[in-house]
């Protein structure tokens, strides 16, 4: 009797666990399929967008009428963006700098620049025509290889990523296949991911395109605003102590904690809860951040603004003026920009953070200032009246001034800044000071923290 009961219980348990296991297996299969479908969709979309991109590039090359040229070039730009988005969703072994991505971004951007120019009545130089043809030439094999990958998925059962080496390979008994793709050799890929890696390697070997745009260069090659001469670690330490004493930490003993290796190389110091960077060239305080606990506030934002001005004086930064603020609860962040002869030079920016408990400086960042600051010469300009006439009708100007604004690709534009209203919205409109062309529009939004430009 007892034995029967046991057998019954065990059988029941077995049946339940079988049912559970089968259900889990089925669910896992569904998830795998959903994932697989997503991957296939990304790859197919990628191939399709690449194919359209290739066609549009060809048409953009041959089109001679401006309207057609603008149409195809704009399509090149949107198709390359779409292809890049698909490409970013395809499973990969690891993510690094992608030359396929770079190629797509740059061809899209280049086409957009040309389209904008043609739309504005400009022309395309023969050199640019050559670059555009060159892009098409490079795209063709990429397109072919991606289509080939899709074909091989069906015929050779390609997997998405290379399998991890099996225990046989780990023991050195089998052959290593995973390594072949990484160095760009032409061994046939075993997975989609290594096939795309090979594409990447073949694009990497080609010389970069020559054009200037947002994505042509990203960082300044060399900081323009640092004082001359190298400083030693000890001299930098002295600079750090001096800075700390000026902001209320007398007799501070900062400790050296490392160096940074950028275009703007620095010595790094720590003192209590603060972090400080002193540039190797010129010994300037580039970055400072105090992470001390902040007590209940005793100051308002306006008081903090006055404190910020006083600190700028004390640190010998008279050349910059505060232009905006953002409240972060226990501290306020101020941006100050360089002003010369009434011209606001926005790229030369310094950021300060003032604690609202005692008005002490808790953050300072002069990286943009030191990266971009240099003596600028201003070209001949339109008068303010001429510039105002270039604005659209019904734009009610509230403020105006001259300014230098950064433009993508590390370029600067000397312009008139107009702050004004149009149909219930507030904007900043920048007109090129030399020719009155509209360079930039920013919409002003009031967030709980302060004004925000978008």
């Amino acid at each position: 009797m007892r034995r029967k009961l046991w057998i019954g219980a065990i059988t029941l348990a077995l049946l339940i666990s079988l049912g559970w296991g089968w259900n889990e297996y089925r669910l896992a299969g569904e998830y795998r399929l959903a994932g697989e479908n997503n991957n296939r969709r990304a790859l197919n979309d990628f191939a399709s967008h690449l194919d359209q991109l290739e066609t549009d590039l060809a048409k953009g090359n041959v089109a001679s009428n401006p309207a057609q040229k603008i149409l195809y070039l704009s399509q090149v730009s949107s198709k390359s963006e779409a292809a890049l988005k698909d490409f970013a969703q395809i499973p990969a072994q690891q993510t690094g700098l992608s030359y396929v991505g770079q190629f797509l971004t740059q061809s899209g951007e280049f086409a957009r620049i040309l389209a904008q120019r043609v739309a504005g009545g400009g022309t395309i130089t023969s050199e640019e025509e050559t670059t555009l043809r060159d892009m098409h030439e490079r795209l063709m094999p990429v397109n072919q290889q991606v289509q080939d990958l899709i074909l091989r998925m069906d015929t050779e059962k390609l997997v998405w990523t290379d399998p991890d080496p099996s225990w046989r390979q780990r023991l050195g008994l089998g052959t290593q296949v995973a390594e072949a793709a990484a160095d760009g050799s032409e061994a046939p890929s075993k997975s989609v991911s290594s096939g795309l890696d090979q594409l990447d390697a073949s694009l990497q070997k080609l010389p970069p395109f020559s054009y200037t745009g947002e994505y042509a260069t990203r960082v300044v090659a060399k900081p323009l605003g640092l004082p001359a001469g190298e400083v030693t670690k000890d001299q930098a330490l002295e600079k750090a102590r001096d800075f700390l004493s000026k902001i209320g930490y007398g007799d501070a003993t900062p400790e050296f904690s490392g160096e940074s290796q950028t275009e703007l190389a620095c010595y790094i110091f720590n003192y209590k809860e603060s972090y400080l960077e002193v540039s190797r060239q010129g010994g300037a305080i580039v970055l400072y951040r105090d992470q001390r606990a902040i007590e209940p506030k005793t100051l308002r934002v306006e008081d903090a603004s006055n404190k910020a001005k006083a600190i700028l004086q004390a640190l010998d930064w008279q050349q910059v003026a505060i232009t905006s603020s953002e409240e972060f609860g226990s501290y306020v962040q101020f941006d100050a920009v360089y002003e010369k002869n009434g011209v606001r030079i926005y790229p030369d920016k310094v950021r300060l953070m003032i604690a609202l408990d005692n008005g002490q400086l808790v953050g300072f960042d002069a990286t943009p200032y030191y990266a971009f600051h240099h003596e600028r010469t201003f070209p001949a300009k339109l008068t303010m009246e001429q510039a105002v006439r270039k604005l659209r009708p019904n734009f009610q100007v509230l403020e105006s001034r001259l300014a230098v604004i950064p433009k993508s690709g590390n370029k600067e534009v000397y312009s008139y800044e107009f702050r004004g209203r149009y149909q219930g919205e507030e904007y900043l409109i920048y007109l090129n000071a030399t020719n009155g062309a509209e360079e930039k529009i920013q919409r002003i939004i009031k967030t709980p923290r302060g004004e925000y430009l978008k």
Partner: protein
């Protein structure tokens, strides 16, 4: 019989009184009264939602002012320069309401929170750099933004964060944890232009990574446990 009637009257009166006071509680707006340990009701739920929105975890949003809600209020008060007492009084609630409000355009029309990208960025920072110094958190947010500016990477925050194998915290689901207040602040600061990473495109923990590719990148600087590289 008489006793019975009195009894009924009393039940009805008490019932009426109760329902009036309770509905008063239920419909009371946040900020009408001081909330503290033991408070309950829809106001507490609203309070908890606002705390979570700003990155102060309260456990579950259940309308009960318990120890976790009190701790969240204390942290909020500390980080916003308010007197730290663990009670949600006028000042604290006013500040919470202000910070969780929508953005407006020049004529005062609400235009949404305008923080979709910052929010995802904050999640990534929270998942990747929890426990790192604040400046290291800003640097992680800056790396993602630097990638947008680099031709070799996708062009939106979501595309970069969810790129396969780009962030381990996406693979293990930590990206879905609600971001902390400091991660939100760090993301916000990076969006407005701070980049303590020095233009980095990658970061990794040298103690935990053996990946050859990442070690081959030119190193810029170390902040906390993270090495930032080009």
């Amino acid at each position: 019989m008489k006793v019975h009637i009195r009894h009924w009257r009393m039940v009805i009166t008490i019932g009426l009184l109760l329902s009036i006071t309770l509905s008063g509680f239920a419909y009371a707006a946040l900020g009408d009264r001081l909330l503290g340990r033991g408070s309950k009701g829809s106001e507490v739920t609203e309070l908890q939602k606002k705390l979570v929105q700003l990155g102060y975890a309260v456990g579950t949003v259940d309308g009960k002012y318990g120890s976790k809600t009190e701790a969240a209020i204390r942290r909020f008060q500390k980080e916003h320069g308010l007197r730290v007492d663990g009670l949600a009084g006028t000042q604290t609630i006013k500040e919470l309401k202000r910070l969780t409000g929508q953005s407006t355009n020049a004529s005062g029309k609400a235009v949404g929170y305008k923080n979709i990208d910052t929010n995802l960025l904050a999640r990534a920072v929270n998942a990747e750099a929890r426990g790192e110094p604040y400046i290291g958190q800003v640097a992680v947010a800056a790396v993602i933004l630097n990638r947008i500016a680099d031709p070799a990477f996708p062009k939106t925050v979501a595309d970069i964060v969810y790129q396969p194998r780009a962030f381990s915290s996406v693979d293990d689901g930590q990206i879905n944890l609600p971001p902390s207040a400091s991660a939100m602040r760090a993301a916000q600061e990076a969006v407005t232009g701070s980049d303590p990473s020095g233009g980095a495109l990658f970061f990794f923990n040298p103690a935990k990574t053996s990946n050859k590719y990442i070690w081959s990148r030119p190193q810029i600087k170390q902040i906390g446990n993270h090495m930032f590289t080009k």
